[in-house]
Subunit: 380 residues, 2 copies
């Protein structure tokens, strides 16, 4: 008999909260009017979008008109990098980011590089953290934009965003932060971080897929990204995804209410998982162990085994391996490589991430299965 | 007592079909895994996305791998213009479009113009149609891309896409068509039109908002637009909006099945509405009357009255006026202006669009109310 699988991949995606689905159903059925329509079918949809905007703003501590709805974290990151950079091209065409940014940031910069922009990718130490001083030293007169993620999706390591943002602002540089993995897991506001823009991804915080937001501080230069018929105050084109937006609003509302308990719950279960695993695998290597990390993330190498093989043996533990196999060749994680993790250890790394629905017995069962799978793998 | 309002704004948006909502609910609840995850939570979501891709492909008559999911018509249009043009910059930096394209096309071209691209906007005649010969005459050696909408969102007027596409292809030029308003209303396939890419917008064909697709013929040069972690075969970043995609697939499946009856139903009701209105308003001016139009669209001027005032008098007729009031100043429709419609007539224009749920009594009541409102408006 096989037990039900244990989901430990909450950094990949989260199930929409029951409150989110409950909010979305009537929106799908009844609020189908176009929010741009002045008539009786459009206006309730408009009001629902406005209410959701307040909910998102309340979570990140900003004004409602500083929230732009997008289709998710990738669009928000792309829009921030491309939309802000292109508005600042006269200032200079240089961007500074970390070496471990999400692909939505890194590839947006790579896109601008084709058009004579230059990007400095500041390295991270073996714990996965940039050195704030080194980051700030790489700012130049022609630096227009800085982007520094709040937490890393693979390791959960938290970057010194505030320190970098303050130093960048002293030089008049605009600052974006990819906060997609942090929102809903730890308390943070735009003002805490001191940034000009930040990214909200619905499906990372128990909201729907296909809905996200970009916080854009008032008066931040921005040329736009999706271009259509003047929605979102002319900042983002496209008919609003009303039901998705309503779901995102509900998810933000829930996160704001539950945050203190959530953080505590995640931390307790993650630490328990780590301890139970270490009891069985004393040689376990935890990436980012000695620096501040997200409370839910455990990126750990099981020395001497292949992570994908390990996961296939640990039947029913649904997690991500630190390396993906593309066309038969193992592809080492860019993040782990930037941390100087050896290929061997990167290939042995599993990302275990707990979430709100995770229970004590889930982490205990997962530790047991992974421990047993490790023993079998080592024996073979 | 006020009657229930009559929705005649199906070109602005459509309610999701019951079949679409039915398909989306279990997807929202159960298929929340990340399709990129190899485990038991991700793979059912992956299969659902693949199945929806087949449904979209079946509607537009292409292979499944030629369908890229997007967040809607605006993204599809932006991605086609920017993503294809940037891949062809070595060929030349000239684009030809019509003067009546949707803002998602027109503004994408305007964006490229900031980066030394040139756009020729081919005028339309008084019926709103481009002359195919004039369009083709504007192609140059350095023309990389052509974009010509299938039908216009305001007037429903259908453009000679095939003729233009064939001539462009003879010159090795790539051809995009914005088919957002046509799909689900009239039968068309990518091969019928002979285009290299076309736009699908979920919420225009009884699918969800926030979901769309771009058809991209195999081997069409494309640099991408949303840039993330290599989804959609590396052509579009961002975690897939699984429930939205499932809903889009269901909407396309439904459209394919129902299309012949749909077209007939729309045509019958639109023509009935037109006739009933003309009975009451003999001086009614129908834009695009003498050329091929979408079967559901009636763009009509009520001479001598202000359309917004007319709609406010015709209580409960939910339609769009041909002019919008921005900051107190009437803003004439770009489409009507391009057709040479006088400001006075443009300001008197209402776009009445019927849909699948529209009933005979709806158009009869609407004609009655609009006729009465017109009489009151003229009398005052």
């Amino acid at each position: 008999m096989q037990d039900s699988p244990i989901y430990l991949d909450y950094n990949a995606t989260t199930p929409p909260a029951p409150e989110v689905i409950e909010a979305m159903l009537p929106a799908l059925r009844d609020l189908w009017g176009n929010p741009s329509s002045a008539h009786a079918f459009g206006q309730p949809a408009r009001r629902a979008v406005d209410a959701a905007r307040e909910q998102v703003a309340a979570l990140i501590g900003c004004a409602a008109d500083e929230v732009i709805f997008t289709c998710g974290g990738t669009e928000s990151d792309n829009a921030a990098i491309v939309g802000i950079a292109e508005a600042l091209a006269d200032r200079g065409k240089h961007i500074v980011i970390s070496a471990v940014e999400h692909a939505a940031i890194d590839n947006a910069c790579a896109y601008l590089e084709r058009n004579s922009w230059r990007t400095t990718r500041v390295p991270v130490d073996r714990n996965g953290r940039v050195d704030a001083k080194e980051f700030v030293d790489s700012l130049r007169d022609e630096t227009a934009l800085v982007s520094i993620m709040h937490s890393n999706n693979e390791t959960g390591v938290i970057q010194p965003v505030r320190e970098i943002a303050d130093a960048a602002h002293e030089r008049g540089i605009v600052v974006h932060s990819d906060t997609a993995q942090s929102l809903g897991k730890v308390a943070l506001t735009a003002d805490d971080l001191g940034v000009d823009s930040l990214t909200v991804a619905g499906h990372k915080l128990y909201g729907p897929k296909g809905a996200g937001a970009l916080y854009l501080r008032r008066d931040t230069p921005f040329n736009g990204f999706l271009r259509g018929a003047g929605h979102e105050g002319g900042r983002r084109g496209g008919t609003e995804n009303v039901a998705g937006i309503v779901g995102l609003g509900a998810a933000c509302e829930l996160a704001r209410r539950e945050l203190p308990q959530r953080t505590e719950h995640l931390l307790e279960l993650r630490d328990r998982l780590e301890q139970r695993l270490r009891d069985r695998v004393p040689e376990l290597v935890v990436h980012g162990k000695s620096v501040e990390r997200l409370p839910n993330t455990l990126s750990a190498a099981f020395p001497g085994v292949d992570a994908n093989h390990l996961l296939s043996l640990a039947e029913g533990v649904a997690s991500a391996a630190g390396a993906a196999c593309h066309s038969g060749k193992p592809h080492i994680s860019r993040v782990l490589a930037a941390m100087g993790v050896s290929d061997e250890l990167a290939l042995a790394t599993v990302r275990l991430t707990v979430g709100c629905p995770t229970r004590t017995e889930d982490v205990d069962r997962a530790a047991e299965r992974l421990g047993a799978a490790y023993a079998r793998s080592r024996a073979s």
